[in-house]
Amino acid sequence: MDRGQNHIHGQSAANLCYQFGSDNPLLGMGIQQPFVPFTSPFGASSSTNIPHMDWNPATMLDNLTFIEDKIRQVKDVIRTMVDNGGQLPCRQGDLTQQQQVVNADLTCLIVQLISTAGSLLPSLKNSSFLSHPPAGHMDTVNHVGSSSSFIPNVTTISEENKEDMCSPEDYEELFKGFTDGAMEGGIEIDNVFVEEQDAKDGDEGGDASMDGENLPPGSYELLQLEKDEILAPHTHFCSICGKGFKRDANLRMHMRGHGDEYKSPAALAKPPRDASAEHELVKRYSCPFVGCKRNKLHKNFQPLKTILCVKNHYKRSHCEKSYTCSRCHTKKFSVMADLKTHEKHCGRDKWLCSCGTSFSRKDKLFAHVALFQGHTPALPADEPKNSSDQISRVGSHQEPAKFPSSMSSSFMWGTSSSDDRGLDIKGLAGCSEDILSTGNFGSFNFSFGPADGFTGEPSGSTFSVLPPEHFQSAQKKGKN
């Protein structure tokens, strides 16, 4: 992903906001205001300026005003959030709903901010801008851009494109992606995710230490993207219609629709890497979340390798896990791909540990058992078969034997299912003890039953007729 090709401009975001805002009549301010800068600065521009970025002070000025406007709006929204938070402490449902709306609004505004700010950028290669701004300040974007001539053309946006751009799915994704970032931006949140991140870091492809890479500080260029950039759904935007894309290849395909000049092999080819880029330092990335190990301020800082790593890391470690598995309804993920991977295997975990954790593969279970003291594999279909079998065999002897056995089995089920996916080892140890003790209890009582029945039995040498439950179990075995 090359930041230099982010032809972001206010157009797309404004459009987005328009649609979005109309869906949310609760917050009015997001609705009308975008139209003001929308028509005045952009309408005057011509499409001829698009390919090159001549320095146009008028446009620049307009853009800057627009940004100022937006910033004011952002402030307003945040203020309302703060106010709402103070007013409605009791009604949780309303609060969250409102927060969501506010978040959505914020998202809109910030996207607009970013894209407009992006259009102010002086050159295609704007990586230097990324490395400078201090964390958490949107305003810095303003100072960076000095020249830009991306003049969006409102008229080129077709109805179809609009539809495309703001399809419900996109919305959802955008919404989800932005929720947490916006929340963090707006409200002070404790570093709830910090503990988790170290464990998760291993998953990321860009983990420098995992790859054996050990670049000394200073030997690489360190970039830090802001959370909003990280969470932006699209990174490539059409300079004509403003439609956003995740990949630049898709953008090039899209551009073909804008005229024959984009159909030439040269235009369709992958842009060659800059010769100068090879002489540049290797790029590494820092996570904007202060306190994170991947943040440059951390004393054991480990940089992330690619922007994709940054994205995945940020979502996994510092965002809410908003994707819930539709099968088990327990596992949550913040990265869609993780959910997809999980759903492939969900429900097929047949290797169970005594702590309640289940695994899709036997060797994984055994590695888990080897790691934790006291954990043992749980035998599959242990409990239910247990109880029925025991009852059918013992049942004829006497009643009391029946009770504890069924008790123990139900109890075991209860403990194992109530276990919260088995992350707490202490709790688990207790749980396994429970299983053990109830099991013993059951068997102890059970042993009394036959004691009475057998001491009085004559010899067993006569033609003894087996009780019917023996037949049952025999049949069961036969079936197997």
């Binding site: 059970f446 042993s447 004691a451 040498s461 003894s464 087996l466």
Partner: protein
């Protein structure tokens, strides 16, 4: 009864008769000490029966108990509160219910001291019984569950609750998987000895966990498992491992042995017999890493041996005591190299090795004067010269196996008998030796095992020689020695009263009167009388009444044995556990009587009982249903016997082998 037993018996009886003076005045502790010195269980029983003082002493003092029937089990467990070892392997019709009941009857703390329990072949015992047992015995250290073919993960998981377990045998518990093994290794971290032979479901993953969780492991048997080299990598991390058996692990190859060679020097014994993919290269690298190997068994796996192996073997000069190279093509030079390299050898196995010659043997034994066991089975090139050199060099010889070495004769054996006074076991099956050879062998008064199968020239005279001096003889194999008559048996029982195993198959001159002599062998446990066409119920009854210890009896093709014989067995042979009555002339009535009376009978082969009706089989089997573990019957019966019966048998842990053989009467 032994002499010391008799004396005590007399004292006890006299003491009680004289009104409390005598043995009764001694303290229980002293009496316990006395009982400890009695070796024969029979003597102890006599003491117990004749004196209350001894009975009390034994009750508090007894440590080991072997129970043969389930009915007295609760009473016995109550009677002996300080038991440490309990053997239930031969306990007929033991199942979960009876085991739990007995444990409950023993009461809390009744089994608190129990350390070792043997449940081998107790196929009726499942996880419930084991759970109850483990719960009642907090100090349990060793459990033998081998050959409980139905035992699976649940049973093993029940054992895992015994946290102090040190020894566990799971041989042929066919349903045990990695999960069960994992249960055990997590539950019993102090495991020192483990055998999972024939547990085919166990894989590398399970073995890996074992190696991680049980660092105290000293002995491990993974024979016939489908595990690969990965397991050996895990096993090599076990720092205290001394013994490793991996017979028939065909997925293991030289690479695995290379991995195994990395580790501590604790390993003393390795068995790679029948590992098809192991070559001398792998063994050489193993020896290279494990410098203190004492035993190396590589039977039936090597096809050739290279110089590298021989030179590595020489580095074990000081330690190696046992070497088995069965089935290998050897040369004189190799045997010489072994003899020169490993002077400390105590045992060498060259069974079925081709190319073993007199010269090879003499160069082997020339430097190995400590050899006690020499296995030359099927080395059919060797002659008396080899025996001469063995006799000259190996004065300590205890065991010599010469099966199918048909070139040897009485002259070679004379040297052996003269020079090796410690000889305890000699196998001369199919060697064609004669009475003269036995005359020489009779000098070996320590002889315990004598195998003379297929030596048809042996006559009563030879038996008389043996009987005259070998009073300690325990096992005698006279398979197809068909010159032997009743007189020979009379001579035998005259001198060899301690015989426990006797094979008289196809000695078809033997009649009822011969069996009458055998009746005086009180200690006889295994008797094979296959195809003795002249014996009848009369002979059987004299055996049944005389041989009280009889456990296994083979009467296949004894065409004249009828219901009377079975009736005698039913009335007298209470300890009989295995019986073969195929082709006997018995009827349904006799079979019913037999099966309903013999409460220890667990294994019966009854093929071609032409006079037994289907109803006869049905009723007889129903009578013995809970006790039978193994059955062999004609395939035709499978469909005509009632399915309930078959299910019942199955449910009680009985395995039925259906055979399809034509009815052929052979007169041997």
């Amino acid at each position: 009864m032994s002499r010391e037993g008799q004396k005590l018996d007399y004292a006890a009886a006299g003491g009680n008769g004289a009104g409390g003076v005598g043995i009764g005045v001694l303290s229980l502790d002293l009496l316990g000490q006395v009982l400890d010195r009695l070796r024969e269980p029979r003597d102890r029983k006599a003491c117990r029966l004749v004196s209350r003082a001894f009975e009390r002493a034994e009750a508090t003092h007894r440590r080991a108990l072997r129970v043969l029937r389930r009915e007295p089990l609760p009473r016995l467990l109550r009677a002996f509160p300080s038991l440490e070892r309990l053997d239930l392997s031969a306990c007929a019709s033991l199942d979960d219910a009876s085991l739990s009941a007995a444990i409950a009857a023993a009461g809390a703390g009744g089994l608190a001291g129990l350390r070792r329990v043997c449940l081998a072949r107790a196929s009726g015992v499942g996880w419930r019984g084991l759970e109850a047992l483990v719960a009642a015995c907090p100090r349990l250290e060793a459990v033998d569950l081998s050959h409980c073919v139905g035992a699976g993960d649940r049973e093993v998981a029940a054992l895992a609750a015994a946290a102090g377990l040190r020894e566990l045998r799971l041989d042929k518990c066919l349903a045990v998987t990695d999960m069960g093994l994992a249960k055990v290794v997590v539950g019993c971290p102090r495991l020192e000895k483990l055998s999972v032979k024939w547990c085919r479901e166990i894989s590398d993953i399970g073995i890996d966990l074992l190696a991680k969780k049980c660092p105290e492991l000293r002995s491990l048997n993974i024979s016939y498992l489908k595990v690969g080299n990965g397991s050996l990598r895990s096993i090599s991390t076990l720092e205290k491992l001394e013994e490793l058996a991996m017979v028939g692990c065909s997925c293991i190859d030289d690479e695995g042995l290379e991995l195994l060679s990395k580790g501590t020097d604790s390993l003393q014994s390795v068995d790679v017999s029948r590992c098809d993919h192991v070559t001398y290269q792998g063994l050489a690298s193993l020896i290279d890493g494990r410098k203190f190997l004492q035993k190396l068994h590589a039977a039936d796996c090597l096809h050739e041996i290279g110089q590298r192996f021989v030179s590595k073997l020489a580095t074990l000069k000081e330690t190696l005591t046992a070497l088995k190279l069965d089935g290998l093509e050897v040369s004189d030079s190799l045997l010489q190299a072994i003899g020169e390299g490993c002077n400390k050898l105590v045992e060498i196995g060259l069974s079925k090795c081709s190319g073993v010659t007199d010269e090879g043997i003499s160069s082997l034994v020339a430097r190995c004067s400590d050899l006690r066991t020499i296995d030359l089975t099927c080395c059919n090139l060797i002659t008396n010269n080899a025996l001469d050199s063995i006799a000259d060099n190996c004065k300590m010889l205890e065991c010599l196996r010469l099966e199918s070495c048909s070139l040897i004769n009485e002259k070679g054996l004379e040297r052996i008998a003269n020079c090796c006074p410690n000889l305890k076991e000699i196998d001369l099956t199919d060697c064609g030796v004669n009475d003269a050879a036995l005359q020489h062998l009779a000098k070996c008064s320590e002889l315990r095992t004598l195998k003379l199968g297929l030596c048809s020239s042996i006559s009563d005279k030879g038996i008389a020689f043996i009987s005259s001096n070998c009073g300690n003889l325990v096992e005698l194999d006279l398979y197809r020695c068909n010159s032997i008559t009743d007189d020979g048996l009379a001579a035998l029982v005259n001198g060899c009263k301690k015989i426990k195993l006797l094979n008289l198959c196809y000695c078809n001159k033997i009649t009822d009167s011969g069996l009458g002599h055998l009746g005086s062998l009180e200690e006889l446990t295994n008797l094979e009388l296959r195809c003795l066409v002249r014996i009848t119920g009369i002979g059987i009854s004299s055996i049944a009444t005389g041989c009280k210890s009889l456990i296994e009896l083979d009467l296949k093709r004894c065409y004249s044995v009828d219901d009377a014989g079975l009736g005698a067995l039913a009335r007298n042979a209470f300890n009989l556990r295995q019986l073969t009555i195929s082709y006997c002339q018995v009827t349904g009535l006799g079979l019913c009587h037999l099966l309903s009376s013999l409460r220890c009978l667990q294994d019966i082969k009854m093929v071609h009982l032409s006079w037994v009706s289907i109803e006869g089989f049905e009723i007889a089997l129903r009578a013995a249903c809970g006790r039978l573990k193994k059955l062999k019957m004609l395939n035709g019966l499978k469909t005509v016997l009632s399915p309930e019966l078959l299910q019942m048998l199955h449910a009680c842990g009985c395995r039925i082998r259906w055979v399809d053989k034509p009815l052929v009467y052979k007169d041997c």
